[in-house]
Amino acid sequence: MLEAIPRLLEEHFEEIIAVLLFGIGFTTLLLHRNLIKKIIGLNIMDTAVYLFLTSVGYIEGRTAPILTDGITSAQNYVNPIPSGLVLTGIVVSVSVTAVTLSLTIRLYRRYHTLDIDKITLLMKGEDN
């Protein structure tokens, strides 16, 4: 079991890093009290998934499927769909981040703090 670890590390380096980053981002988003750090966690988490997807979708020695030298054999190209998915995913995470940041600005203007626990306490104090 243990002997396999160096080989795994070598073969799946990007994937292992991606999963670690996903874990870091996920826990930051879930557990951190500061809203801005939560949003940073969200972005780390999403980026980790994109890293995973790109590294899985790339085959060493092949290029993007754009015909330049008249080579039509599929053996020379990588599948463009994973990169397409990453691009779509980036668009989604940018818009989600924008909305969350604007919500954070609203909350900061109202409560003058970024700590979600303090905000919750202040919110319970006011009557509405």
Binding site: L30, L53, V99, T100, L103, E126
Partner: protein, 497 residues
């Protein structure tokens, strides 16, 4: 190809285009624009439903004429069309009923943007129902989340802002898990279309390869969509979000947004992973346990809350527990019961939220239960609508809740074993708790007010009154038409696999 097969695509595009148009319209027209859009979408999907019922088979619809393994596809079946009709009618009536409150709870310059969000939620809902592509499903999950978040915070006070933030955080955790599940699926199978993925998964399962990754994928989809649909332990954002946003928003959120996620989960179980693999991975037992816990603990929280709107919100947690418990049985009867319950609950809960806003008007916007006394006499339409939908959720015969509870217990009998006793006792206990909090409220509504209580002056808006009567009628219709609806669901589910 028959023209009617274009309906799913047309409805999605129609919602998107109306959303863009609504952002430029003056608020007064934008609201009616949304109502008209929901009516048109409901009519179109009803047309598709009648066609599919007569033909009796589902069809796939190529987007952009790229054939199966490459292109993007929509898929139309009886089940999808039926749910699209029900949800768009519910959205129509909720918008109509919430219009009056919208006018003074939301900034006048932003009311048309509220309508944009309603249109977007409708578009996302229809796409999640009809899509045959996993990644398209993900994109529309995110659109739904953004729309729902704006709906929550459109009425600006501290509580809605904080709950919108909490909703956003929880949803984003859920989307992260769903995204990684989709990535792993694509990594294992190399496909994004549901049929192709299912074929590859079936081959992998038959050869005994990748059992752990497939279980992990199933679990990730379940937890991700469970968080988004406010399954019991992940429901903390829900009470404030439903309880303090404007009534149109809370009824749309409780009746459409959470249901669309649950339907997508069912679709993933049936059409992506395949029921054989689901059964052998025992994830269903997890769904069942969380569902049963939600049924009881949600109702307990509802009893403890002193505010009518929060009570409705906690009752949603309990009803979502029913859905998951039904799905967790893992047999066709359980799925049929869960889908019927979905329809019943989306009608009843949206009526409850609109009726509650009317009753709050009739009792001077007070949060105390004692001020609600006699509100049923002061605002008859709201009182009757509330009572009827509360009775439906409790499970009084003729109304929908009775039928769904009947089907849940039948499904439990079909399954047998420990599940039978757990399900039956949970149903009995939860019904008892439902009676406690709903009937307490209904009785309060029709008790004479306390001495010295000054009934507040309020205006019965004709739009709200119309919506309330329509909702009362819909509650009866769902119960009376139970047999045909269940038949359609069963046929739809058979097409599904």
């Amino acid at each position: 190809m028959e023209f009617v097969k274009n309906v799913p695509f047309f409805s999605i595009m129609l919602c998107m285009i109306s959303g863009v148009t609504a952002s430029m319209l003056p608020p007064k027209i934008a609201k009616w624009w949304t109502v008209a859009l929901a009516a048109v979408v409901a009519a179109l999907n009803a047309w598709l439903l009648s066609y599919l019922l007569s033909v009796g088979e589902s069809y796939t619809y190529m987007m952009g004429h790229f054939p199966a393994p490459w292109g993007n596809e929509l898929r139309g079946g009886i089940l999808e069309a039926l749910l699209a009709v029900v949800f768009s009618i519910v959205l129509l009536v909720s918008t109509l009923g919430g219009m009056q409150k919208l006018e003074y709870q939301v900034d006048p310059h932003k009311q048309n943007l509220f309508c944009v969000m309603l249109d977007l939620v409708l578009a996302a809902m229809i796409s999640m129902l009809y899509t045959n592509d996993l990644f398209t499903g993900y994109v529309f999950i995110e659109i739904m989340t953004l729309g729902a978040c704006v709906l929550i915070m459109s009425r600006q006070n501290g509580r809605t802002l904080v709950s919108a933030m909490r909703y956003m955080i929880m949803s984003l955790l859920g989307s992260g898990l769903i995204l990684i599940a989709i990535t792993l699926t694509y990594n294992l199978t190399g496909h994004l279309l549901m049929e192709n993925i299912q074929q590859s998964f079936a081959q992998l399962h038959a050869s005994g390869q990748y059992e752990v990754p497939i279980t992990v994928i199933t679990g990730l989809f379940f937890v991700g969509l469970g968080i988004k649909s406010a399954l019991f332990p992940f429901h903390t954002w829900l009470p404030d979000a439903y309880g303090y946003s404007t009534p149109a928003a809370s009824s749309v959120l409780s009746s459409i947004v959470s249901k669309a996620y649950i339907f997508l989960l069912m679709k993933i179980f049936y059409r992506v992973i395949g029921m054989d693999i689901i059964h052998s991975s025992h994830v269903m037992n997890l769904l069942f346990i969380f569902g049963v816990a939600g049924m009881i603990l949600g109702s307990l929280s509802a009893i403890r809350s002193h505010d009518l709107r929060r009570m409705n919100a906690y009752s949603s947690v309990a009803q979502i527990g029913y859905l998951y418990a039904g799905i967790g049985l893992g047999i066709e009867a359980g799925f049929v019961a869960a889908i019927y319950h979905m329809i019943m609950h989306s009608v009843a809960k949206s009526s409850l939220f609109i009726a509650t806003s009317g009753l709050a008007d009739a009792s001077g916007d007070s949060k105390r239960f004692s001020d609600l006394r006699g509100a049923g006499y002061r605002y008859p339409a709201a009182g009757i609508c509330f009572s009827v939908s509360a009775m439906s959720l409790v499970g009084i015969p003729i109304l929908g809740g009775f039928v769904s509870k009947l089907y849940f217990s039948q499904a439990a009998f079909e399954y047998g074993g420990v599940h039978l006793w757990v399900m039956l006792s949970a149903l009995a206990l939860s019904t008892f708790l439902n009676v406690l909090y709903f009937m307490r409220t209904v009785i309060t509504l029709y008790r004479p007010p306390k001495k010295g209580f000054q009934p507040p002056a309020f205006r019965k808006d004709p739009r709200t009154v119309t919506a309330l009567w329509i909702m009362t009628a819909l509650n009866f219709l769902v119960g009376l038409l139970a047999q045909p609806i269940v038949m359609a669901i069963t046929r739809g589910l058979r097409m599904f696999a």
